[in-house]
């Protein structure tokens, strides 16, 4: 291999791509730790003062609290509803199964703008006053298809013969679900719930249309940016970034752990033997 000429261009293009993706984020993280209020170089040294200011601000605390309440409610409600929907879909024998599944999944392709406007019209028509409740309802609409797709994929991968075996051993439908189905898919479901939480927590466009007097965190950031450019925004953004990344890591780790566990459950040697026997 040595001595073989390799062009530097692919490497440089890759580096440029990575920098393009990450540099703006790094700048935000860097200036969240800036000593002074200046948002431009030269950099005058590190400090945690903007973080302190964020934690002291009652407005920020209230926005964070709103976002946490909305995201938690959204994630838990989706967990129950979308799991039931996905389980029903993957076990139903009806010929309406495929079209219905498509209806459950299709909203994933709708623009947030469309969902936002549609919900605002619906809330106005039904004279529902805008509040965190309407925000939560909007987030449910938005997050449901994401959860549904993940849960459906996990449930479809299960061997239906396992559920039949459990029924044969005397378990009724509920017991089969609780003792055989759920223990095999819960890591995926928890991961999907974490994803639902993250999606809800930093949702902006739909929230913008249906939000009431209490802003969620993304809306608070947006409105404070409109007034002045306060460096504490950098601190909030950095915290938000860290939190979201953490949730995605949890999602991914749970999904891949469950996948490994599932693979490990089938002995590849036994399968090879079965193939030969045929």
């Amino acid at each position: 291999m040595s001595g073989r000429h390799r062009s530097p261009i692919p490497g440089l293009v890759t580096l440029a791509g990575v920098l393009f993706l990450w540099l703006p984020l790094l700048v935000v993280v860097l200036f969240s730790l800036h000593e002074t209020a200046s948002l431009s170089f030269p950099f005058d040294g590190f400090s945690l003062r903007w973080y302190e200011r964020v934690f002291e601000s009652a407005e920020v605390r209230s926005a964070v609290q709103s976002s946490l309440v909305v995201a938690t409610t959204t994630a838990l409600t989706t967990l129950v509803l979308a799991t039931l929907a996905a389980y029903g879909m993957s076990r139903a024998r009806s010929r309406w199964r495929a079209p219905l599944a498509l209806l459950f999944f299709l909203p994933i392709t709708l623009p947030g703008l469309f969902i936002g406007v549609a919900l605002l019209i619906a809330f106005t028509r039904t004279e529902t006053s805008l509040s965190l409740v309407t925000v939560t309802i909007a987030h449910l609409v938005y997050v449901f298809p994401f959860f549904f797709v993940l849960a459906r994929a996990a449930l479809d991968r299960l061997d239906p013969a396992l559920e039949e075996a459990a029924a044969d051993l005397g378990a009724n439908g509920r017991t089969v679900f609780r003792r055989v189905t759920l223990p095999q898919v819960w890591p995926v479901l928890v991961g999907a719930a974490a994803l639902a939480f993250a999606l809800s927590f930093d949702e902006f466009i739909i929230t913008f249309y249906v939000v009431g007097p209490d802003p969620t965190l993304p809306l608070y950031i947006w409105s404070s940016l409109r007034k002045t450019i306060d460096p504490s925004i950098n601190a909030i953004s950095t915290l938000l970034l860290a939190f979201t990344v953490l949730l995605f890591v949890v999602t991914f780790a749970l999904a891949s752990w469950s996948e490994r566990r599932r693979r490990g459950a089938v002995d590849p040697l036994a399968l090879a033997g079965a193939e030969e026997a045929r």
């Binding site: 051993l169 378990a171 055989v180 002995d267 040697l269 026997a277």
Partner: protein
């Protein structure tokens, strides 16, 4: 058979869409019996087993367990347990929890659960494996756990759906011995589905040979093998030569048949005169060199030419062409060295008691081929 069968299947009919899977099946199974449903794929044997288990509800007919009509009971409320074709151990539970599953669901006390699981694992020779997970077991061990998981519930009938078909031949043979032992030791009633006629003969008290949604013959293995009631059974159970003959004399015990230019006696009660099929098992076909027969009475034997010789481990198998019939016969016999070479001239003979006659409609010259697996029925079920 006792007045009340352990399992009674009454005129069960079932369809998947327009495909008929079961076309009127009735069967009584006695206490402690091991009955095999044997047939090619698509013959309805698995459908029948699933109807007994409660996974399918028959379109017509009834299923009774110890006299009680269970046709409308769902699987989880029936005292039947099943060992599936593929290993279906719960991957998130260890061996102990798998075996204890049915007892737990039934609310059996913990101390009794432990005792019964231990006993079941001892029965399948897997004591000490309680804490293993299914991916730490071999295919044969997984099926033994599945057997323990089913038997621990003391079902009224144990259903086995081709439990050995996913295993290597060697392990399959060992598992047959194990299954026979478990059946003897528990005295439980087994209904066993297989497409492997060798397995069926080795295991069963009685065999129900199924074809196209019906039971073609029901009997003990030796009877099914030696006295098949149809050409299908003769060909599906074991290897068979099926030759067209004419019955020229029919008696109470014995008949005289003509095939080609030779007349031969066959032990078979009351055959109809006229066209018939002669069923000859390969091991019943006696072959000797043509010149060694010089000077003997050749009236009862047929002239043939060896076309193929194959070593079978326990002996040799030959294919012999019979010019007078325009057909080939398979012959098999023990021996250390090949008895003949290809193109040798031979005489073919058999003992009257080792042949069997079946009615032959009209003038068919060749036996019907065994039906191909019914792909449509298999798909409809999936």
């Amino acid at each position: 058979m006792s007045a009340e069968a352990r399992v009674r299947i009454e005129d069960v009919r079932h369809r998947y869409g327009s495909v008929t899977a079961l076309d009127g099946v009735s069967l009584d199974i006695a206490d402690g019996e091991l009955v095999t449903l044997l047939g090619p794929s698509g013959c309805g044997k698995t459908t029948l087993l699933r109807i007994v288990a409660g996974f399918e509800r028959p379109v017509e007919g009834r299923v009774l367990l110890t006299g009680e009509d269970v046709t409308r009971l769902p699987a989880h409320r029936r005292a039947t347990n099943m060992v599936f074709q593929r290993p279906t151990l719960f991957p998130h539970l260890d061996v102990f929890a798998n075996v204890a599953f049915g007892l737990q669901v039934a609310g059996v006390a913990r101390s009794e659960q432990r005792a019964r699981v231990q006993e079941a694992l001892r029965l399948v020779r897997l004591d000490g494996y309680e804490r293993r997970r299914s991916h730490e077991l071999s295919g044969g061990q997984m099926q033994r756990v599945a057997l323990a998981r089913a038997l621990v519930n003391r079902p009224k009938v144990l259903l086995l759906d081709e439990p050995l078909s996913a295993l290597d031949l060697k392990i399959r043979l060992e598992m047959e011995v194990e299954l026979r032992r478990v059946h003897r030791e528990t005295g439980a009633t087994f209904v066993y589905v297989t497409h492997d006629q060798r397995e069926a003969m080795a295991l069963s008290d009685r065999i129900a040979v199924m074809n196209a949604g019906r039971i073609e013959q029901l009997g003990v293995p030796t009877e099914v093998y030696r006295r098949p009631t149809s050409v299908f059974v003769a060909q599906f159970v074991g290897d068979a030569n099926v030759l067209p003959v004419e019955v020229v004399e029919a008696g109470a015990e014995e008949a005289v048949v003509r095939l080609g230019d030779c007349r031969h006696n066959v032990h078979c009660p009351h055959p109809a005169r006229g066209p018939a099929w002669l069923v000859l098992r390969p091991e019943a076909v006696e072959v000797r060199a043509a010149d060694a027969a010089a000077g003997r009475d050749d009236a009862g034997s047929l002239r043939g030419v060896v076309r193929d010789v194959a070593f079978r481990g326990t002996g040799f198998g030959c294919r012999i062409e019979l010019p007078a019939l325009g057909a080939q016969v398979k012959a098999e016999g023990p021996g250390a060295a090949p008895p003949f070479a290809v193109d040798d001239a031979v005489r073919v003979d058999w003992r009257p008691e080792s042949g069997w006659l079946l009615p032959r409609e009209g003038g068919e010259a060749a036996p019907p081929p065994i039906a191909e697996p019914d792909a449509a029925a298999a798909e409809a079920r999936a």
